[in-house]
Assembly symmetry: D2
Homo-oligomer: 343 residues x 4
């Protein structure tokens, strides 16, 4: 931690700063420059983060030298983590191909869509049973009935299923049915929820909040890891921007950025990132080319009848075509796609 | 609702669109322009919002003509709402002056700070017992002990107390102690929590998310109102921006914008909006001048020892000076500050 | 300047860094912490800024300790500057009240609007003769004829006139007619233009770019100051945001932020910041309450016939009402509005 | 154009709106809904854009149905344009591989770098002679001497050269030496400059402004096209964001977005978009996978000695490795890279 003192910091203030550092049991290193005095603090930065150093009179700026997360960092785990979701590997060269409708809807449709996306090469099936909707009047999901249906689909096709959990009281219930728990973008900083999924034994798909920095995202992963659940897959799904042309702004650079900071896998979700089927294939390919550990795509066989997010879904035929292109690209990049266990 | 069709929309597609509208029991109004065909849909827009109209082949753009919230709108309630928090009025010309430390800390400090801010004119006292911290290793608040302490302070000084609730499981507990429940910016779209506070009988202070539009904020208020709790006060506390000079960007225009759309009061929180004590007084004054129904300020008597957010707190003397300026401005603007009930 | 070295920086790399610093004729100060090594560089930070320090192998981060501008800083000039525009003072307690139509249009209209806004208390009159329009097919302004008309209006009412210059080749021409040169938001970083207005003897109104930080704005002022023209007034006019409800996001905190960093006056322009007449009065008042040195408002007597930006103009009656409120607030704040010289 | 009227619009106001539309020689189409009245205007939207329709009393919202650009749109030119820069093709399946240092510096270095990047497969060489620097005290480029040196390099290696022009007065001079003129991000809306490069016979590389929407970018291309110069290549180079981890936010979705709206080629510049050599290769690959018509990379053989932007440059060896990967990906995507003419 480095403290840059104010131009006008008095000798008394400098003394006070040094005494405060000593009182924390830490060493300091004073450097008087032409224009500013700087205090380097030597010791456990973790402990220092908790201290309101910037509020000490005379301090102009506090510059941390270490990232605020530990377990999620490459320092803690220099090799890429490979997360297993009921047999399907994600990370370290293994691609997670997640596909399925936004919401779990009627039974026949679920089976039809799952059959198609699994045939195209998806190795994880998604569908929402509890939907976080911006309107209280919108369809909120089928609840436990949706979970049961999802489980049935998973069992039938031998594909692990992913679904969102939105309430700390529901984590246990959802974990009974789903192979992987999704924490959505709007709940990325719902710390009560993060703590509960951290206590669960299920792998977690943690989506980046719409205005979360990559550091914020890794801190939220740290919440989960710190509760003992090491199986976290991150997901870039677009951030807020000034351009209304797309629903969000797809931040593809977050992929190599995460890989340079953390061992956790990161996949991309061009469906939510762009909200536009015409842009999804290009952004899916871009994500893979940037090194993503998987791609999350919403697929629906009749978007104009979808209970939610229909306008951003690909048709099964469109997904099939994209999946073929993604397989070619994966080959070029030396990545593999975990096959499903034989049923 | 207006549907703008694609340039290349075929007659068959146009027919399909019209039949879909009729199937919903609604009327349509077709208008063929030089370059585009437009379909006006006449009827309950609420119902239409649920339909994935944009996914209908041939549809280029869907333009809603009504806001997506109802109970929060001026149409539902043309006069400004006046919210009463245990006797203190906010809205419709009454200013809520909220002050207090970020976290509830030790007992003596709480009483010392409360005495000072109440003497300066604060009519609502704040303090966090459950803290949503971005690091799992940071101080998470005193929990129920903090609530008890806060209640004691409220009773002693006759000032209603406001505190944050971060978990739907804790709403009932917090409502036992606090006069007003705060939903923080990171939980603005935690719909499980909104639903629970909507079922509570306590007034709610709903803070705007860091990347929420004003429409998003009003939709979240709608969640609470739709559960039967009409006592919602909104709070502008800064949005994300590209300029690192301030913690967030204080969106003062949100104040008149909300007043033109909704009957709900809106206060400003320059402490979180700027994160800088040197900017707080100017932004507090700006908020009032823009018509805000109150001001939320963090005050601490020794910021360098604060358990959280110390660097953004004002000292009691600074708050006293600012409160005097705010009172003068309130006088000029014809606003009143509810006095505390005599103890 | 502080260099934070990479975790893995080798002794050879550290040596190379130190030799590079010495080769620049500067001293260094090495501090080896538990996790990172830090090099403080003592000497002229101006010179160091030019060096690609971050590209030196082993360097992780470069932390400057001084602002990158000099002449614009409070260090160079601790008292607020008072800029005189043909007798009207702006800054240091004097408010510049700029009003007028977006574009200079027909002669009668100009005289009618000027008469009204001067009667309401405006002490600077604006109107665009060269318009930077986002469409090549839009009205581009009357050019020199517009300048002549503006001069006539200024002379008739004894009010200094402000107009935009968009091209370095036109600075001399515009300076012949106008009392103050405006550099618009889109040209804030048009360095060729800044250099030319810096050579002019006319005061400059420098508008903040839509995605410029306050530091960026002050660096552009520095360009002008460094050419010898010390008469710069800054203008906050909104920055880009994710919320489409307003044209831009009015950053009122930029006012106290600039006052804490620079001696230059800063005014606010709620017309461009919000693009909505219904929000302009509240934001004008907010700007003044935050300490702005003036307010820039577009006024048109028939907005639906305006050649540009009609939808964001106030009517003369609306301006009159707002001006009265602004005068009351100015009184409360102890600010004065320079009267016009008697004709 | 669709006008959505206000809830409270009176019959007189509706009449006035209709008469105004008729006075413009256009037809209207009135549709009275349950909550709102809508007026469709049939006729030349170009003409309507110029009218301040939103300022007409009773009008709540104006919804355009056509894009504001014409020559740049796919309607005007349904096939992708192929731009030729002294023999090198960009667009329609041809990739422009631009590489070179940020600034033109000393002669030997220019030849060394050019030799390396051409050997790696670059088919356009870049280098700045006139630099738009944010500090007036920073290196501003070698000027005409730099242009001469660049021309020499181009002639020696048979590679077309690209360089930035920052001042309308310099367009003719720069066009004498360079094969392609670059308009930088900060000058994207410098309309005087756009007009001058539009009159030039040289192809133009138009970089997207840091807070420009894709529509803004296409409008600026329209400025150039409307002056008669059809040879415009667009460039995505990152937009402003709230995350300080990267210099800008690389908006890879802009590539398919532009391809769906315009016939103009678009390349990506991961050097400026990220500002971090460690992220450049992944983002370059992402851009190509998204369909970009080329990649712009800064290369320097000793970044720590670069006169500008050293920290974001790749070393020649790094570029060589990346170029090989980009060639493989181009092969997979069926794109070709124009070879240089034999010298």
């Amino acid at each position: 931690m480095i403290l840059i003192l104010k131009h006008q910091a008095t000798d008394d203030q400098i003394d006070h700063v040094l005494r405060r550092v000593e009182a924390m049991g830490l060493k300091h290193h004073l450097s008087r420059g032409t224009h500013r005095t700087i205090v380097g603090i030597i010791g456990d930065e973790e402990q220092l983060r908790e201290e309101p150093l910037k509020a000490i009179p005379g301090v102009a700026q506090v510059v941390p030298v270490l990232p605020p997360y530990k377990l999620a960092s490459l320092d803690a785990h220099p090799e890429p983590s490979v997360i297993e979701i009921s047999g399907v590997k994600v990370g370290g060269g293994h691609l997670g191909m997640i596909a399925g409708p936004c919401s779990v809807e009627d039974r026949d449709r679920m089976f039809r869509i799952a059959e198609r996306v699994v045939a195209s090469g998806a190795n994880l099936f998604r569908g929402g049973a509890f939907k976080p909707r911006t309107s209280p009047y919108a369809f909120q999901g089928l609840g436990e009935d949706g979970l049961k249906l999802l489980r049935e689909v998973g069992d039938k096709f031998g594909v692990p299923v992913v679904t969102e959990v939105t309430d700390p009281r529901l984590v246990e219930l959802v974990a009974q049915y789903a192979d992987m728990l999704q924490v959505g973008a709007r709940n990325m900083q719902n710390f009560a929820l993060l703590t509960e999924v951290g206590k669960s034994h299920r792998p977690v798909l943690l989506k980046r909040g719409m205005s979360a920095t990559v550091t914020d995202l890794l801190m939220c992963a740290e919440y989960i890891l710190s509760q003992g659940n090491a199986n976290v897959v991150l997901c870039e799904r677009g951030v807020k921007s000034f351009d209304p042309a797309t629903r969000n702004l797809f931040d593809v650079a977050a992929v190599p950025l995460v890989h340079g900071l953390s061992h956790l896998p990161i996949i991309v979700d061009p469906s939510h990132a762009t909200g536009r089927p015409d842009l999804i294939p290009a952004c899916a390919m871009a994500g893979l080319a940037a090194g993503a550990d998987g791609v999350h795509i919403e697929v629906h066989d009749c978007p104009e009848e979808a209970k939610s997010d229909g306008p951003q879904a690909l048709l099964p035929d469109q997904y099939d075509e994209l999946a073929a292109q993604m397989k070619s690209l994966a080959g070029l990049l030396g990545k593999t796609i975990s096959p499903l266990a034989a049923k």
